[in-house]
């Protein structure tokens, strides 16, 4: 159930991110399991970005959110490009 709720919300945030966002890793949480890279439809090495703590500014990234959704450690989040501090939460209202 949690997953369904998450994916619905995901589609909503995605539209926003496609226009103005990128994937931002937090390396302090990453255990380098490789699930993100394994699920990236374009074969981007998301895990390597996570090791370096580098935002995924690769022009190929579709911001499809597969890596964000599948990371079991909450390492990856969508951030608005140019506003590094502002992280777009998957579900903005914890009470929804």
């Amino acid at each position: 159930m949690a997953l369904t709720r998450r994916s619905i919300h995901f589609d909503l945030t995605r539209a926003d991110v496609l226009a103005s966002g990128h994937v931002q890793p937090d390396p302090s949480l990453c255990v380098q399991c490789g699930i993100c890279s394994y699920n990236c439809p374009l074969g981007l090495d998301v895990r390597d970005y996570a090791w370096r703590g580098a935002p995924i500014f690769d022009g190929q990234c579709l911001t499809c959110g597969q890596c964000v959704a599948r990371c079991p450690r909450g390492v990856l989040a969508f951030a608005r490009t140019g506003m590094a501090q502002q992280v777009v939460p998957l579900r903005p209202n914890p009470k929804d």
């Binding site: 399991c33 490789g34 079991p72 989040a77 501090q85 998957l90």
Partner: protein, 440 residues
């Protein structure tokens, strides 16, 4: 003459140190000594390999070419002794390696099963890729497994085996799961999820002995005399640092190898990093053990700085782990529970001793079905938090806890109305980020 660095261990602490050393000292000789034929891979990832989420090859985060490009000398052997005065490392095959600086990054191993029959074929612990491969092979032709232990690894074993189609009995020694970190409510949430997935939970159950036939496990017998037939007994009762090398060399050890904040041990030119190291924290005045991947990496990088002559202290931050516990996203930050857990004889994997340093504090709870936030409130700061389900608050909370932010402006409001807590924290964290943005 270029320096001669020797690193024992090809885990994340050892490899992070090697990469940092190479960046700092392009001409240095760097040798990795490891007994693991599989080299360097994501150890936490083993749980996802076990459950079939990723294939084996995905565990390797560095390719052969990456490692070659680092210009390392790779020695596959067990290190058995250190000649501290002669600056020599002795290997099991009789070879000797001289060093200018030696890093011990030998990690920790799972504590051995503590019941009779623990050596039967079919009894497993999970440390290495080799262990994981053997367990997967066994799971593919087994129908019943018993899992004992606590913490995240025991759950990962239970869920991984279940995902492989094995019927799993999870034995808990006490009344609930991970009682020294989770509160009763949280334990029950996890247990409910496990049960609904089809894992059978047994409470107040201890393994008296593992029973075998011709050396092969056929059942476990519990304290109450009940016999559960099984082909697999998977044990995760905690970890123990590999201390033999250090002990034999007369290096000071406690539960781990004792180091200062620069990762230096009591012996000259010998450092320790990762799960094996018990690192002194200048701020708290305490030396503690962690079994966390990101911490081991940070240790390795700090050790490399010291080894290359540019020491910078390892800065402990509020320990944080995010993981799926029985499929519920869960973040544990800072100091939470207290006391001990019967299911563990030593620190669990993905665990930090600092999570049990909780001082008496107000506990605030906000819960919505599977969404739950628990805060440990000190006089002026938040000392720990547990976020289950919705993870919106985990990053802001980590920032506030790590920075020991003064939360007095909202403390009374937090205590007055628990339901307002998420909004209060979110708004306060936003405001705090804005006013501290220039320091970030």
């Amino acid at each position: 003459m270029a320096a001669d660095y020797v690193i024992v261990g090809s885990g994340v602490a050892g490899i992070a140190a090697a990469e940092a050393l190479r960046a700092r000292a392009p001409g240095a000789s760097i040798t990795i000594v490891t007994e693991d034929a599989d080299g360097f891979y994501s150890r936490p990832g083993l749980a996802y390999y076990l459950s079939g989420t990723i294939p084996e090859k995905q565990l390797f985060l560095r390719s052969q070419a990456d490692l070659r490009n680092l210009g390392l000398r790779w020695v596959q052997a067990r290190a058995t002794q250190i000649d501290v005065v002669g600056h020599r490392l002795v290997l099991a095959d009789g070879r000797n390696l001289t060093y200018d600086k030696l890093l011990i990054a030998t990690g920790a191993r799972a504590a051995a099963p503590d019941c009779p029959g623990g050596d039967l074929d079919g009894v497993f612990t999970l440390d290495t890729l080799g262990d994981a491969k053997r367990l997967v092979r066994k799971a593919n032709n087994s129908d019943q497994a018993v899992v004992v232990g606590g913490g995240i690894t025991a759950l990962e074993l239970a869920e991984g085996l279940h995902a492989r189609g094995v019927n799993v009995h999870y034995l808990l020694r006490g009344a609930r799961y991970w009682s020294n970190v989770l509160d009763a409510e949280e334990s029950h949430l996890v247990e409910d999820h496990l049960r609904s997935d089809g894992v059978e939970l047994h409470y107040h159950a201890r393994v008296r002995q593992a029973l075998g036939k011709k050396g092969k496990l056929i059942a476990v017998e519990t304290d109450s005399g009940e016999q559960i037939s099984c082909q697999i007994l998977a044990v995760a009762i905690g970890t123990r640092p590999h201390l033999d090398l250090a002990r034999a060399a007369g290096i000071k050890v406690d539960r781990g190898i004792l180091t200062d904040a620069y990762l230096r041990t009591s012996a000259p030119d010998i450092l320790a990093a990762g799960d094996v190291a018990q690192v002194y924290d200048e701020r708290s005045g305490i030396a503690s053990l962690d079994t966390l991947w990101p911490t081991a990496r940070a240790h390795g990088e700090a050790a490399a700085a010291t080894m290359s002559g540019a020491p910078a202290p390892y800065q402990r931050t509020a320990a944080m782990n995010v993981t799926l516990i029985a499929n519920i996203p869960t973040t544990i930050i800072g100091a939470l529970g207290s006391g001990s857990d019967e299911d563990l004889v030593a620190i669990a994997r993905g665990d930090s001793e600092s999570w049990r340093g909780a001082k008496p504090a107000w506990v605030i709870v906000e819960q919505h079905e599977v969404n739950r936030v628990r805060l440990m409130l000190g006089e002026r700061t938040i000392s720990g938090a547990l976020v289950m389900g919705d993870q919106t608050l985990s990053r802001p909370l980590h920032r506030l806890i790590a920075a020991e932010a003064d939360i007095s402006p909202i403390r009374d409001a937090l205590l007055a109305d628990q339901h307002a807590m998420p909004q209060l924290i979110a708004a306060f964290a936003d405001e705090w980020e804005r006013s501290h943005a220039h320091n970030a």
